[in-house]
Point group: C2
Chain length 501, copies 2
């Protein structure tokens, strides 16, 4: 085959793999949103087989020969083809080190684990979830040893979510944050506290749903390609390609802000996924490049935009229209201060921007300790409580609001959490850069997301996975990433809110 025939065949194989991804992604989405309660076993059956077929297609002779042949003509390939090849080589070389039966058993384990996590959380029953959690950690250690025997297992998984991330880099990053955030939290703790009663009331699912749709419209999300569902834990997924993207939220009837910021957060993920160039669909290049960059977008919209004074001023009349009784007598300034109330709390997804990273650090320390065999999974509940007391000064009353709160571990996403903190910090640096081109506050004040979205599209979204995450970030920033812009942003914003000098 000549080079052109080889690349055609390569894209055909990628396209076939994307159809399996489509099926698997949809089965997961359906399982979380729609499927009958007792269907997990049936789902695991299909997922096991489809994963197996996909594994065989990825690691079969046809693909391996093709990768070898393409490697021989690497210099003749276009930039796009070469990047596809690089990503395929990385993924497939690792995948083929995992025996097929272990790979399939892991996919089935995840379905059962997610199913059990749901009921365990509902019933505050960590013990029922523990056997799955133990198996997941064991599988993660085993796969890391198989795929990258020269790396520490936890470093390997960190690197799966963010190119080149290691515990060393994480430690340094978190230390930088702590050095500035811990004193800030202390100062805020001594300041006069704001009131958040305007967030509370009785907010029906129907009203919150209508408000969510309005928020997605304001954000400029193409509703013909992106739907909203409801799940226990909010998430974003694309189905097969960036042409079908789905976000979910969870309504708390006593506080509208919980779902509001989930919708904006997941909406940011969705915009990023949906923004891939159309010709990247059904290839290794489609969608976001890393979870760090992904969280830079979600946390950008959630916090840098969504929790800004300009946005709250803009959205306040919309809020009043959505919840006329509850908002009656309140002001935009009250809402602004309430959604930016800094207070140690129990739930990560509802935490304020300043204490948020402490929630992430706790998870980082815990999963790292298990991966490094310094902690057993069975002790995670106790350790969780101890660290929440130590870092945030709060007593965790139960596992539902503690170790069972997040869905990540049940989905096998060990090593994901640091992406939230990194992404938040990336976002602040990106915003600084964006401000050189756009009057961001002026846009937000008008509810006009177009210039902001177009900037992100041009600089980040459309590239999909064409660049590595660190390359992409540097190309956006025009300089090396520096977390100081994040801590500067937090200090400036919150000193103003809390009248600190």
């Amino acid at each position: 085959m000549n080079t052109s025939e080889l690349t055609n065949k390569f894209y055909d194989l990628q396209s076939r793999l994307s159809a399996y991804r489509h099926a698997v992604d949809l089965i997961y989405y359906d399982g979380a949103t729609t499927a009958p309660k007792a269907s997990a076993e049936n789902r695991a059956h299909a997922l096991g087989i489809l994963s197996e077929e996909s594994y065989k297609l990825s690691t079969g002779d046809e693909m391996l020969t093709l990768l070898d042949d393409l490697a021989k003509v690497r210099d003749e390939l276009s930039e796009k083809d070469r990047r596809c090849l690089e990503l395929a080589e990385k993924e497939i070389n690792e995948m083929k080190k995992i025996p097929l039966d272990e790979y399939v058993a892991y996919q089935e384990l995840i379905v059962a684990a997610e199913d059990t996590w749901h009921s365990a959380k509902e019933n505050d029953d960590f013990a029922s979830f523990l056997p799955y959690l133990e198996k997941i950690f064991a599988a993660k250690k085993r796969f890391a040893e198989l795929c990258a025997p020269d790396k520490k297992p936890y470093d390997y998984w960190l690197g799966q979510f963010e190119d080149g991330l290691t515990t060393e880099k994480c430690d340094a990053f978190f230390e930088t944050l702590k050095a500035r955030l811990v004193p800030l939290i202390e100062s805020i703790g001594k300041a006069a506290q704001n009131d958040d009663s305007c967030l509370h009331g009785d907010f029906s699912d129907e009203k919150q749903l209508a408000f969510s749709h309005k928020l997605m419209e304001i954000m400029g999300i193409d509703r013909n390609r992106c739907i909203l569902g409801t799940t226990e834990h909010p998430f974003t997924t694309s189905i097969g390609s960036h042409k079908d993207v789905r976000i979910t939220t969870n309504f708390k009837n006593d506080n509208f802000a919980s779902s509001m910021f989930s919708v904006i957060h997941e909406g940011g993920h969705a915009l990023y996924d949906m923004g891939s160039c159309d010709d990247l669909a059904y290839t290794y290049l489609d969608g976001g490049v890393s979870m760090g960059i992904h969280e830079s977008q979600s946390r950008f919209y959630e916090n840098l935009i969504g929790r800004s004074e300009a946005f709250i001023n803009y959205v306040f009349p919309v809020l009043c229209e959505a919840f006329p009784e509850e908002m009656s007598g309140h002001t935009a300034d009250e809402v602004y201060k309430a959604i930016n109330l800094v207070t140690p709390s129990l739930i990560r997804t509802e935490a304020d921007e300043v204490t948020y990273c402490l929630h992430v650090m706790i998870r980082y320390e815990l999963e790292r300790a298990v991966m490094e065999d310094r902690l057993e999974a069975k002790d995670l509940s106790t350790e969780w409580k101890r660290l929440y007391k130590e870092y945030l000064g709060v007593d965790v009353p139960n596992d539902r609001m503690g170790v069972l709160q997040d869905s990540h571990w049940s989905g096998g996403m060990i090593g994901y959490f640091p992406s939230y903190a990194l992404g938040s910090a990336y976002g602040a640096h990106i915003l600084k850069k964006m401000r050189e081109d756009i009057d961001v506050d002026a846009c937000i004040s008008k509810g006009d997301f177009t210039p902001i979205n177009e900037w992100n599209r041009k600089m980040i979204w459309r590239h999909g996975c064409m660049m590595k995450s660190d390359e992409l970030l540097e190309s956006v920033l025009g300089e090396s990433f520096d977390p100081v812009h994040y801590t500067d942003y937090l200090e400036e914003k919150y000193k103003k809110i809390y009248n600190l000098v």
Copy 2:
């Protein structure tokens, strides 16, 4: 391989095929209920590839060799294994006669056709749907010629929905019905007409949804394995196996009866699908054996039970609880007469039992004429209107309430419609048989579906596809099926309602 190894491998292949079916079924269900509006192309991409992979698995050397080897030891096989082999041989021998590219193109056509049908119906725009309809009829003729060159194409497709069904048998069956039903309709037309105002009012989606859940509970449907969705056209599907079954309905806000009887109808399909023996899952034997038997169950619950005096008496208090304002001042007897109002109408799914079969006959005549090249697809709209005038005396005001009303043709289900009439008639004969064992009216009066469901489970559901449909029917009835029980039932019921002698 010895026989036991051969059968193990055979069940493994069936299991793998079921995973593809799981994916395909879910992609369709999701497309009809949930997926973003503009995602049809993305869905077609995945469906095309998954169909191709499934086709290759079905018709590949591994399967063909296995079927040959199993055929050599047919006499050594258990009854179950032998029946699986028989069904696999039938399906695969036909499938392999269709070239792969045509097979895949057809799957993609169906996704596009269903997507276009939705908007065509919404916009009353038959012209936009016509190109798809033409291609579907062309594909159906072509596939019939490839798979069964010795049969008339329409006969081939009739036989796909009901073992051994032909136009000859359909004609005879419909003539029998007409001979009794046309005079009955005429007599009813001359009788004093009943009033159906108690069905009308303002019924919100929320209230109808709650009532639907209640109906499913009354029917004894296991809600842990069966969910309810809403779609333009109600349907039932299983996802991968009988362990995950889904029904849908469509709420009309001015008439609760439309969705009520859709839910009971689809609930009947669901009970049948869910009733397969567990050890039939992931084999050729899982689920209902034919559409005729399927409709015997759905139309049984919808009409023979759901529209019976005993059931309406039982369900009336439930209705009053669901719609207190609208039902206030009405009686169970009014509701019973209203839901059994015999009147020529436009919409098949809302037709009364007596005129229902005329709706089916119209579709039968039309699709048969196109399949026999006596009518062009472009003339279906006009012919539809002409036949509705001739058979039912009604003027069809638009295509939305005419040729575009049903989803079947857009889904490629040519030859399906006669199953509705056949199933209705099977149901009446089955009920007669059931009454020998159970006091059906006494059960219904108490809202106790258990004895009825258990009888159906024992006689029909649990067998899945173990028997051919005609064998199954005869085993249930203990005699040959006779449509006279259906016409007897209709005459007796409606003469009483309309006080005819």
